[in-house]
């Protein structure tokens, strides 16, 4: 098998969003697809994979290795291997920033802290129990304020005098917000305070690891400029943001697939593939 004709796919089936990335042997991105996960993981996984293949103008058989990651990784019947999002995000973030040592990933439903060394995950911490410090917090707040989640970041940047939201719990924070509104506090100050709160919660989790530069902030919430600012302030150091924060998991998955394949080839072993059932799972019909 010629190495330069190899392609690798990574699929990150998150609780909110699913992302697929196809790379070639030079690690260039040939396809990038994102979609809301919804409830039917298997059907959705098949669908986004097909979309990605179409984008890359490839057939499924041309993919040398598929790695699935994310919350729903066990629901990807065509994957050759499933690897946790922790390991995959570490790998993906390291491909964007080779000097990364600490990464913070805030997704829709959870938050993760990663320690990385030479592109490999060496330690981690996770928050998947508590909404505060995750994208969910922002959704609840946006809903309370009748705003779109996407608007929150720019609104927060307008603040000159952010309020302190002291609640560590999303429900209590909501109550605090309502109180502040009735007190006549400007909207941007409340929103900025909330961004501080989510940053504080997430960084608090991150501090359970020894924070070392370079620090990278990734995941869906890293697209919110208000949270980015708050994280930078809280950490008091330079924080790097990938151009495409959503795909660090899928990218890492694809890269790990490449690594596994090349390792096998170098040893002269056959590549351990999965069953690769890309056809629609029958029991969903």
């Amino acid at each position: 098998m010629q190495e330069n004709s190899l392609y690798f796919a990574g699929i990150d089936l998150g609780s909110t969003m699913t992302k697929v990335v196809i790379i070639d042997a030079d690690e260039a991105i040939r396809a990038r697809v994102e979609s809301h996960t919804g409830a039917e993981h298997r059907r959705l996984a098949n669908k986004v994979m097909e979309q990605a293949l179409e984008q890359a103008n490839l057939s499924f058989g041309e993919i040398a290795y598929v790695v699935a990651t994310g919350y729903g990784r066990i629901n990807v019947p065509f994957a050759d291997r499933q690897i946790t999002e922790l390991t995959c995000h570490a790998r993906g973030v390291a491909s964007f920033f080779p000097s990364v040592r600490t990464a913070l990933d805030i997704g829709g439903q959870d938050a993760k802290g990663l320690k990385v060394k030479d592109g490999k995950l060496i330690d981690f911490v996770m928050n998947d129990k508590c909404a505060a410090g995750t994208g969910r917090f922002l959704e609840v707040i946006a809903s309370t304020l009748s705003l779109k989640v996407e608007e929150l970041g720019s609104i927060s940047l307008k603040s000159k005098n952010k309020v302190s939201i002291s609640s560590t719990c999303t429900i209590f924070a909501q109550q605090e917000v309502i109180s502040r509104i009735s007190e006549g506090v400007p909207l941007e100050d409340i929103v900025a305070g909330l961004h501080s709160a989510i940053a504080s919660r997430a960084v608090g989790m991150l501090r359970r690891l020894k924070i070392e530069p370079d620090v990278v902030f990734t995941g869906g919430v890293a697209q919110n400029i208000g949270v980015v600012k708050a994280v930078r302030e809280n950490l008091g150091c330079e924080v790097f943001i990938p151009q495409d924060p959503l795909i660090s998991g899928a990218m890492g998955a694809a890269l790990l697939g490449k690594e596994l394949t090349l390792k096998a080839l170098a040893k002269g072993e056959s590549i351990q593939r999965g069953e690769r059932r890309l056809a629609e799972a029958t029991f969903f019909k």
Partner: protein, 391 residues
Amino acid sequence: MTEAGSQGLSRVKEIYQDRSHRVKALKAEGKQVIGYYDIYPVLEMLTALDLVPYRLLGDMSEPITKADTCLPTVVCPFIRSVMDLGLKGKYDFLDGVVMAHACEVAEKTAHIWRIYLTPAYAHFIDTPHTTHAAAQKQHKELLKDFKKTLESFTGKELSAERLEQAIRVHNQQRTLVRELYELRKPDPPLVSGVETLQVMVALTSLPVEEGNELLRQVISEVKQRKDGPSLRPARLLIWGSVIDNIALIDMIENIGANVVMDDTSVGSRAYFSQVELTEDPLDGLAYRYLVELKAPRTFRETVLSETGKKDYMTDLENRFGYLGDYAKEWNVNGIILQAMRYCDIHGYEVPGLKDYLGNIGLPNIYLEHDYSEAALAPLRTRVQAFLEVIG
């Protein structure tokens, strides 16, 4: 339902599924069964009077309902489960209970159990918290008190001879358990973490001599089997609060590891120290059940340096050095620290233990759960990621 002639591991699995089957049969024959929890009640004193010790365990799959009337939700879910089962009548077959001051909630529940379940016989052993000379002396006095109420309850004398005999049989069980644990040293281990736990649970459900016989069968079977655990890169030790259900270890092993050693109370903590036969047997028992038993609920002082100051790393070495030894002996390459939510005893240990393990270069991860099967799902990703890190 026990098959006639069922032996070894298949008998173990039967007992694991239906723990109280054997003791109920023994009761029908006229034996008396005394319930206890944790590892501080002195079992030899029960065996010596022909009482069958039966360890109270919880049920991870049973939602806690009745215990809410007497134990708040912010306490150990295992003890809550035990209390819940008691209130639901699952332990009505017991003739009595003996409980000890294993931890704060265990102590308080001993009193609550007596109030709400009115056992015919109950005794509380106020096991001291330290190994001070005064504490050791007190512990012996406490065992003398226990002796009195047992004699009163059974109408028999707890003679030194009877006690010595019981000590020998219980020591025999400890030796056999060690033998079984030796079979976890090869790579792959000859017996899995799940199977070992099932054996441990089975032992807590049988009179000691029957347990010994079962152990001999298991050891022999395991030595000869060809269908043992497969080779996996990760060899783990699991530390922490009581594990009485295979769900967690099963999950860990299925993800791709062999759990080859434990430091938990339905495990090595209960068996890895012998009782020394002393002229007054109570001396050996008092010493073993307070000083020899290694568990975080017992406070051990660090020998002070000449400056009168404490050295943190020396303190950690004194408290946790035995884990480093286990890791070496069982060739462990990763440690799972697990504790139940609201377990103070284990919770406070975690940072120090992580410091110690970091110092000796043993990768480790801390998992917190609340003693329910639902609680295990979020742990799956963490365990897998940990295996990816050490892999």
